[in-house]
């Protein structure tokens, strides 16, 4: 049985100019029970629209959303067994914390004793025991966030929808909340559908990530698959940094391929899916390229170039290397303490070594 299933969902908005924006363009997605699924994409990609359609705040134009094979068509938001944690928390300013948390129980007319117990339990779960009598505006952003979580979790929803809940927090707080949210999801055993535009957040927390762009799901996979085997150039660029070279397979020796790139360099790669003469894109992550061979790389497996810029970011040195015909490759060079002496100057000619296994090949699509 499917858990939360979205099939061929479409949703278009009319723009003031009279055109249409396809916020959801044939989206199909199967959310598994008890998983932490993240909808990741740039702003305006349709991820929040999808969340609103699941919550029932908006209707899809066509397609279907179902929970355990029961269609949710026509079911209003207040009858769906889903709860949402909003981006701005949306705590009721006229109610104190325990009344905020108990709101859903009050409208459901849960008996007093049970209400009190469940509110207490939820507040403890998010670490806000004893805050019940305070007002929302007396709490910090992180604490308000927890209240919003408790308010939703107290109702034991089938799915918890989170709309960029951490974006308003500062960096340190955000990292703490990431860990806490993930632990919370494990302990309560509720399916989380989490919306974010922050790829690090998505990679850190999710069981699976759906990368969304232009109203379409670009790739649905585990964080490691998304990072190591991006389905297309968009995913490769949006999740992490990628060096993408367009080229043609000019030599094939079993799995070992040689690709002649448009900037007149040769790249080695291994792949089962491509043959001699195929047009491909080669994706090389900046951290997989090194300035000197360390044994795994074979000596011919290198790209020559000239350093155009070097940026020190603390743990690494980011080098922008001109690899011919104006193409720039980005290399993350590990920084060790006391490396100052071997700082790489702009204008230095370098060789970038990589392992053929690190190069990921995708089909070249004309767009």
């Amino acid at each position: 049985m499917n858990f939360l299933n979205i099939t061929s969902a479409r949703k278009a908005y009319r723009t003031p100019e009279g055109g249409f924006i396809h916020a959801l363009d044939d989206v199909s997605l199967n959310v598994r029970n008890n998983e932490f699924l993240t909808l990741l994409g740039p702003s305006g990609c349709g991820k929040t629209t999808l969340l609103k359609c699941i919550a029932g705040f908006e209707d899809i134009d066509s397609g279907n959303i179902s929970l355990e094979d029961q269609s949710l068509k026509g079911v209003p938001a207040h009858r769906r067994p889903f709860n949402t944690v909003f981006q701005n928390y949306a705590l009721f300013p006229h109610l104190n914390i325990s009344d905020n948390v108990g709101y859903g129980l009050d409208v459901a007319r849960v008996p007093k004793k049970e209400r009190a117990d469940r509110v207490e339990e939820a507040m403890e779960l998010v670490g806000l025991k004893g805050f019940g009598k305070r007002e929302p505006n007396q709490l910090s952003g992180g604490q308000q966030q927890r209240v919003a979580l408790a308010r939703s979790l107290v109702l034991k929803p089938r799915v918890l929808l989170l709309d960029e809940p951490l974006s308003a927090l500062d960096r340190k707080m955000r990292e703490n909340m990431q860990i806490e949210l993930k632990n919370l999801q494990n302990s309560v055993g509720i399916t989380f559908v989490f919306v974010t535009h922050d790829q690090e957040e998505a990679l850190a927390m999710s069981d699976r990530i759906a990368v969304v762009a232009n109203g379409k799901v670009q790739q649905l996979a585990t964080p490691t698959e998304i990072y190591d085997e991006p389905a297309n150039a968009f995913v490769a660029n949006f999740v992490g940094t990628s060096n993408i070279f367009t080229g043609k397979v000019v030599e094939q020796n079993g799995k070992n391929l040689k690709i002649e790139t448009a900037n007149e360099r040769q790249v080695l790669a291994t792949s089962d899916h491509f043959n001699l003469g195929d047009q491909v894109q080669v994706i090389l992550r900046p951290e997989h390229m090194k300035l000197s061979p360390d044994g795994n790389e074979i000596s011919e497996c290198c790209i020559e170039g000239t350093v155009e810029a070097s940026i020190f970011v603390g743990s690494e040195m980011h080098l922008h290397v001109n690899v011919g015909k104006g193409r720039t490759a980005i290399v993350h060079h590990r920084h060790n303490r006391g490396d100052e002496g071997e700082r790489i100057e702009v204008g230095t000619d370098v060789k970038l070594y990589y392992s053929p296994n690190a190069a990921h090949l995708i089909e070249l699509v004309e767009d």
Binding site: A90, G104, V107
Partner: protein, 301 residues
């Protein structure tokens, strides 16, 4: 003296200077006359107008029922008029609220130029003279007026309805004049209502009625209370509307005050009436301010 003290002193002097014009105006034209009225309301009315400087609490006595037995009698008509005024003012508050509340939501959801135009329309009646506007209602409501003519020619009624010179006519006039005063505070409140709270309420399982009762109503209550007071006060003391649309049949305390001062020349009695109205209004405002202070402590304004 430290420089911080000097700065503080200079700041205080600026503040005093800035507040002076308003304070002077308020005391000369409001507080002093109010004091005079208070004093007069406890003085004996002179036979030919003016006052005798004798302690005389019976101006209030005549109204609330403890008269000077041998001279003035307690006349329940004053209390009746006062209660009728209260009733008309309350009805006015309720009617302007019922008109303004949905309209405020409607206008707040409009966009740009359309919204500004709607707000302009609401303040448009202020551009015409008050008397002209009330007189227009006289023409509309009278037996040979617009409504009766239309209803009669449509065959819905045989004889003209009594639309004029009753509470109904007075309330219509009041509502017509005072609706903008109810609308604007409610609108200001509704405008900044955070719709994500409405969504949150739905999301937590509240049906539309529950959402209205538990979220929208409490969050717009300050605007409703503010508007109610701004409408209630002028409605309670109004004498122009009842004298036009109420004729001799509907008397409000405002008419009574006007008559005491201008026709009977019984200033102490008029002053007593005016202060009683003021007292009832002050009680209401104090209640409102209390509630607002509590709401503000919670971060709702």
């Amino acid at each position: 003296m430290s420089s911080a003290d000097t700065i503080l002193k200079r700041k205080r002097r600026t503040l005093v200077l800035l507040l002076a014009p308003f304070s002077i105006m308020l005391s000369v034209f409001f507080l002093i006359p109010l004091g005079i009225m208070m004093v007069y309301s406890f003085l004996e009315p002179g036979l030919y107008g003016g006052v005798e400087w004798n302690w005389y609490p019976y101006n209030y006595g005549r109204i609330i029922g403890w008269p000077l037995n041998d001279f003035e009698e307690f006349e329940p008509i004053y209390l009746k008029i006062f209660l009728n005024s209260l009733q008309i003012a309350l009805m006015t508050v309720i009617c302007t609220f019922l008109l303004s509340y949905p309209a405020a939501f409607w206008v707040s959801r409009m966009k740009g130029a359309k919204k500004n135009f709607a707000l302009f329309l609401i303040t448009l009646p202020f551009f015409a003279n008050l008397l002209v506007r009330i007189y227009a209602w006289l023409l509309l409501l009278r037996p040979t007026g617009f409504f009766n003519t239309v209803l009669q020619s449509a065959g819905l009624i045989m004889e003209p309805l009594d639309l004029l010179f009753n509470n109904f006519a007075v309330i219509i006039g009041m509502v017509y004049i005072l609706t903008p005063f109810m609308f604007l505070p409610i609108y200001a409140n509704v405008e900044k209502l955070d719709y994500s709270l409405v969504r949150a309420s739905q999301d937590l399982g509240a049906n539309p009625l529950q959402t209205f009762r538990r979220v929208i109503l409490p969050l717009t209550a300050p605007g409703i209370l503010g508007g109610s007071i701004i409408v209630f006060i002028p409605a309670l003391g109004n004498f122009i509307v009842p004298s036009f649309l109420g004729g001799s049949k509907v008397q409000m305390t405002g008419n009574l005050i006007e008559r005491s001062f201008l026709q009977s020349r019984d200033w102490p009695f008029g002053a007593a009436l005016a202060l009683l109205i003021m007292a009832s209004v002050v009680i209401l405002v104090v209640i409102q301010l209390n509630r607002q202070a509590k709401a503000e402590a919670r971060g709702v304004s």
